[in-house]
């Protein structure tokens, strides 16, 4: 335990150093260059893992808006990811629609489901949202399992991949770059949102809901914005997931999936972009490094979740509160 505290102290020191603007931008530039150059020397296995990491970074950043920025617990995040994936899957494989045209549909559908779930629930105590989203996640999975248009239990196969600037997306490094661009967009949007009027309202609500309302912030409206924006992040990530995998099945969207995304956000540090990116990285790399853990992985994740909340609720790389 003492060792752990010493380690976190050390990391806090590193984050302090990163507060210096020059050092920070230097590090960011280095990281981005490294990421861009990686496909030149890495093998397919490494690229596959990294692509998977980028994908989870996008999902985690989306959930971070809900959990980290607005302080709401969403336990059915995989449902929005499923809605995006199935929307793209159905539109492109059944109706032969171009991939890029399916994205607006994903956005609208995941946004609408966010409103349907969040609208009635966010008026009530915030804990209700947690259990309603938990139910929604499970129900979405059941619905796609039972409908015929979603391919039932075996899922959808043969989703068409798109062409970008004349290049047919098929190789792993295509997806590597595509998801990395998605990560950059997600980071940019998250950053801009956090420092906007909306972001400040969320922080206020998170810290003191009654005071926020007394200041004239419509808490229900702003919470709903956070929830719906988070849902849309999940939907878009789902669309890209569908074309990368070309096949999707209901079992991808089980509760464990939502719990893992939540764990990454909590582990890395709720509300802080680098923390969330780090959390997503740990989430993907952990099972690759510790293969022996295997089936009991989620057991360990549960314990980690409890330990973090009790001993370091701010996560590994916490948000700097002003």
């Amino acid at each position: 335990m003492k060792n752990l505290i010493a380690q976190t102290r050390l990391m806090d020191g590193i984050y302090k150093a990163l507060d210096n603007k020059l050092i920070r931008y230097g590090v960011y530039l280095l990281l981005v260059t490294l990421v861009i150059l990686t496909p030149l020397f890495a093998n397919n296995y490494v690229l596959e893992i990294l692509t998977n990491t980028w994908f989870y970074v996008v999902l985690c950043l989306g959930l971070n808006i809900v959990v980290g920025y607005a302080g709401l617990l969403d336990l059915g995040y995989a449902a929005f990811f499923a809605i995006g994936a199935y929307t793209t899957g159905i539109l492109s494989s059944v109706f032969g629609m171009n991939f890029w045209l399916t994205i607006p549909f994903s956005i609208v559908l995941s946004g609408i489901s966010g409103v349907v779930i969040g609208g009635p629930t966010l008026r009530l105590r915030s804990d209700y949202l947690a259990i309603v989203t938990l139910g929604f996640g499970e129900i979405t999975r059941l619905v796609v399992r039972n409908l015929s248009i979603t391919g039932g239990a075996s899922g959808l196969i043969g989703i068409n991949r798109p062409t970008v600037f004349g290049v047919y997306l098929s190789k792993i490094n295509h997806f590597y770059y595509m998801f990395f661009i998605l990560v950059l967009i997600a980071i940019f949007v998250s950053y801009r949102l956090y420092h906007s009027r909306l972001g400040r309202a969320w922080q206020y609500i998170r810290e003191d809901e009654d005071a926020a309302e007394a200041m004239g912030i419509d808490r229900v409206k702003f919470k709903l914005y956070a929830f719906v924006i988070g849902a849309i992040f999940g939907g878009v990530a789902g669309s890209f997931f569908a074309i990368k995998m070309t096949a999707i099945s209901p079992e991808t969207f089980i509760f464990t999936q939502s719990a893992m995304i939540l764990l990454a956000v909590v582990l890395g540090g709720m509300g802080k972009i680098p923390g969330v990116v780090l959390g997503a990285g740990i989430l993907v790399l952990f099972p690759e490094i510790f293969r022996a853990v295997g089936q009991s992985r989620m057991l360990l994740f549960g314990i980690v979740l409890i330990v973090i909340m009790i001993f370091r609720p701010q996560g590994i790389w916490p948000d700097r509160r002003n």
């Binding site: 139910g135 059941l142 057991l299 314990i303 009790i310």
Partner: protein, 304 residues
């Protein structure tokens, strides 16, 4: 089967399943009432209860057989063990966070749920376990519908557990302490009530009831698995909301209503049994839109 017989059959199913929902919903609503926590692990506690009962029944069936004597012993043992487990969970995972922001304790509850769920999954290798008993299918025939003695005894057992709880909450000193803490924790502390002990007791009672429901579900369905708590956790929450969360009679009534609605709902055209869980969830959403305080809930508006 004639229409009346179908309805009768579904009424019996509804009451039986509904009484399981009620028992689990009671734990939700009691814990919520006292510390305003939605205990996500509660469905898993029900599942663990079923497994503990299964193990104890295996141990005692050599002496007592797997008839009612063995079942009652294993149910009581499971209630005691799982009740203590509930207290342990409260002590380790929830008590340190009672003063922390709400989000922390909700996340810990998810962690506890993951731990219980996956622990049993690893232990059982993800397989179904046959909950073998010596109970017969004898019963009373009403037309072509048979009400087995097992079903009747299970309903009587849940009813007596609920009556017992009702007496405990309303007539004993501990029950009074629980009700007082639900109203004003700080005032109770000043009045010399041991708040931590009373909260622990609430977890004990709530978990023990869930364990009883778990064992009875094992007896009724004849098979248990590690994921049996997940959906019932959601249903029990729905039942608690139907009755008005925080209200103990509400949870009892809510469970029965949900059980009956589900049993009847699956008979409607377009709503087959594969849509049963979706049906319950739609009820929950509609309720939250139109009557979030439930039937017997207080109409106060609470905030985080």
């Amino acid at each position: 089967m004639s229409l009346q017989e179908i309805i009768l059959q579904q009424l019996i199913n509804g009451i039986l399943i509904g009484s399981f929902y009620s028992l689990v919903a009671l734990g939700y609503t009691m814990v919520y009432g006292i510390i305003k926590l939605l205990n996500f692990a509660h469905g898993d506690i029900y599942m663990v209860g079923a497994f503990v009962g299964f193990v104890v029944l295996g141990l005692v069936s050599g002496i007592l057989g797997a008839g009612w004597a063995g079942i009652i012993i294993s149910m009581l043992a499971s209630m005691l063990i799982v009740g203590l487990l509930g207290v342990g969970i409260q002590r380790v995972a929830y008590r340190p966070l009672l003063k922390a922001p709400r989000l922390s304790i909700l996340i810990t509850a998810v962690g506890v749920s993951l731990v219980l769920y996956n622990f049993v999954m690893v232990l059982t290798n993800g397989e179904f376990m046959a909950f073998n008993t010596d109970l017969s299918f004898a019963g009373i025939d009403l037309g072509s519908v048979r009400v087995t003695y097992t079903q009747m005894i299970l309903v009587i057992a849940t009813a007596s557990l609920m009556l017992g709880l009702h007496w405990f909450i309303n007539k004993t000193m501990y029950g009074r302490a629980m009700r007082a803490i639900a109203i004003d924790q700080d005032a109770c502390r000043l009045m010399g009530i041991n708040v931590n002990k009373t909260i622990a007791l609430t977890f004990f009672v709530g978990s023990a009831l869930a364990a009883a429901a778990g064992v009875m579900a094992g007896v009724y369905y004849g098979s248990i698995n590690f994921f049996m708590g997940f959906v019932i956790g959601l249903k029990a929450f729905t039942a608690a909301v139907i009755g008005g969360i925080g209200s103990i009679p509400g949870a009892m009534v809510g469970g029965l209503i949900l059980g009956l609605l589900e049993a009847i709902g699956t008979q409607l055209p377009m709503v087959g049994s594969e849509w049963k869980d979706v049906f319950a969830f739609v009820i929950l959403i509609l309720l939250l839109v139109f009557k979030p305080t439930g039937i017997l809930g207080k109409s106060e508006i609470e905030r985080m």
